[in-house]
Symmetry: C2
Subunit: 419 residues, 2 copies
């Protein structure tokens, strides 16, 4: 057995033991651990900044790109955010132990469901060190133990944050092993993490598509997957022109590098002539590059031609593909064939077509007359978000505390037996 395998199994065993304590920990103890962690981070600003400086220096020496270095950096504002995030999670309602749908059955027993933690959650993420505090806090609040594997380039920052979390757990009387950061930067560690169903109950990868695809491919543990966000806005026949322009503008230009930004705009044929020149004007002001189908080019000559590849590309950039469709049916077909089951919206004033879009588009968030940018745990009222699932098993759409739990059945009787 390799040393790393042994190390990971040890982390797994520790986590399993801690998960049993966490599952029955009181709401007060969990909240105290979060607030003590926030205090420890406040008191360790200097240590965090110098650990991060070490990572940044090593990153520069290794020639990391500017965006990567930016994500790696712990600024004062980002440390403030971590502290605030911990306080916010402490303020959320504890999902564990919540009982739903308790009903009397004809036999006389009462049957209901009680929310319980999943057990041990493995988080695999890339350069952003603030994920360490964010992910740990959500797992902790939902009564789970966590094993965190951050990017090797952030190892010193992650360890410094982990020390604060351990302090918080200790002060609250909880086992420090409830949150463990993998200390080795060896890639082999990830391979073990995703193949230890006896110790880890679910893996949440946070990072680019290639990381998530690689993990899903090899995992022997369930993975809460979030692949790309190829989001659509469909402008329906008879749509309100100002809603259409506002939503199409917001969905594309509010932020470019996010998974819930629109990448393809679909326009009903009957609307194209009036709508396309208007939307082109507002996009031009934002320097958005447009690529269109043939019919779009007839109306907007001079823009690039969209190739079939464009319908399946997540640009994450000021680029937009535009397609004129015959109507609702073609729009739904296009979305279900080329989208990524993330977030899609229809702009319409028609009741029946809105309802049909809602029912037939097979995406994790389906919207009427709202910007795709709303697909987000905070906007949905979840209070926090560990990721967005484009899967159907277990969780779909933004995943908050509830997505880190399960429900067991409870039965209350008074000596009832089965006849």
């Amino acid at each position: 057995m390799s040393d790393i395998k042994g190390l990971m199994q040890q982390l797994g065993e520790n986590a399993r033991v801690a998960s049993r304590q966490m599952a029955v920990a009181s709401t007060q103890a969990k909240n105290q651990a979060l607030l003590y962690t926030a205090e420890a981070i406040e008191a360790s600003r200097q240590q965090l900044l110098s650990a991060n400086a070490e990572d940044l220096a090593a990153g520069k020496a290794k020639g990391l790109s500017a965006p990567l270095l930016d994500r790696l950096e712990l600024t004062i504002a980002r440390i403030d955010n971590m502290i605030e995030g911990l306080q916010q999670v402490a303020a959320l309602v504890d999902p564990v132990g919540e009982i739903n749908d308790l009903r009397y059955m004809p036999s006389g027993i009462q049957v209901g469901r009680m929310r319980v933690p999943l057990g041990v959650i493995g988080i695999i993420y890339e350069s952003r060190p603030n994920v360490t505090a964010e992910a740990a806090s959500l797992c902790l609040k939902s009564g789970n133990a966590t094993i965190l594997r951050g990017g090797s380039e952030a190892i010193h920052s992650n360890q410094a944050i982990a020390a604060c979390i351990r302090e918080g757990l200790n002060k609250a009387g909880l086992l420090a092993a409830a949150v463990q950061v993998v200390e080795t930067t060896d890639r082999e560690a990830v391979g073990h993490m995703i193949t230890m169903p006896e110790y880890i109950d679910v893996i949440v990868p946070r990072g680019g598509k290639s990381l998530i695809e690689r993990i899903s491919q090899d995992a022997r543990v369930p993975v809460i997957k979030h692949l790309d966000g190829i989001c659509h806005v469909y402008i329906d026949d008879g749509a309100d022109m100002s809603k259409a322009v506002n939503i199409a503008l917001n969905a594309k230009t509010h932020r470019y590098g996010v998974c819930n930004a629109m990448e393809t705009l679909l326009v009903a044929e009957s609307m194209a002539e009036e709508f396309l020149p208007q939307i082109m004007q507002v996009y031009d002001e934002k320097d958005v590059e447009l690529r269109g189908c043939e019919k779009t080019l007839d109306i907007l000559p001079g823009i690039e031609t969209a190739t079939s590849e464009d319908w399946e590309t997540e640009y994450l950039a000021p680029i937009l593909a535009i397609k004129v469709v015959s109507g609702l049916s073609e729009a739904i077909e296009h979305i279900n064939a080329h989208g990524s089951q993330h977030t899609d919206t229809i702009v319409t004033e028609d009741y029946a077509r809105g309802m049909r879009f809602l029912r037939e588009v097979d995406s994790s968030s389906v919207m009427i007359n709202a910007s795709t940018r709303f697909a987000d745990g905070f906007e949905y009222g979840l209070g926090a978000e560990i990721g967005i699932s484009t899967d159907k098993i277990h969780a779909r759409g933004p995943v908050g505390l509830e997505g880190l739990t399960s429900q067991k059945y409870i039965v209350l009787g008074d000596g009832h037996i089965r006849k």
Copy 2:
């Protein structure tokens, strides 16, 4: 590519196409398909019996055991049950399209969740041919397409039932590929089924522990697992003696070969002297073999000694392991260490200890003062059951129609954009 691989991929493609139609099929069309199938089975009794006779003859020639031959047999009563089951599923409320928790958010949008089918469900089962109709009906009602792989010994019976289902689907105007039975009996087919995530969204294995373990081990598709049922009854300090005796008797002797039967009886030390002789008397009348810990033997001399293996054995037979424990804490520890996270019950009159048992026992069904035999989709009001999950991801406990669905987010706005 082997022929069987090609065959399975073809089934997978057909199922994927059919699943899109099923996802948007009306409740009426789905119910009609179920009722037309029931009619087709009614009209095909003779064909079903002769196909089954063929399987039985082959089974006898192959030397199948008497219990296996019994499970394989389609009696008149079992055909009646299939027909009734189809009618019952038609009468259930359609879960697809149900909208929950639609609420206004501070931004002005309304956010809620809509229930959607999972897609394509693979069912892998053993000798009982009636599972074909049962599993197909639940998948159909929940808007999923199904690929069914039954035991090779039941192939003629399964194909005869499948023909009736195809007739029902056709008459209702739905694609026959919504329910496909694998025609080859080659074992290789199962290997392909569990490794085609592009065509199959979830696998539900129904059968013995070794089948399920083998499938879980190799699957690249999520599996709704149900391993063994090592269920406990714990008689708490101060328990009502008549409830204790009734529940312990019912949980063990109501039926022996079922997963929700009790296999281990835990007794608080303070209760042992009074309770054990009483319960021994009623078990003696039923010829239940008792195996006890040392303390049990002090009170019930002459019974077998339980070995450590007994605490982890699913007897499925008139055998019971008995352990005297110091109290609630030891009972919970024993259950969480040796149980199978299936179903466990406490007999108690004490509020705090009952609540603690409910919270701390990590099983898919946890009960107070009720027989473990109640752990069942029908008793829980689910209307039907495709299996019992001892997992935590996606579904836990009895799985009915809801367990075959997921929830997507829906957002209703009126031109809302993100600020």
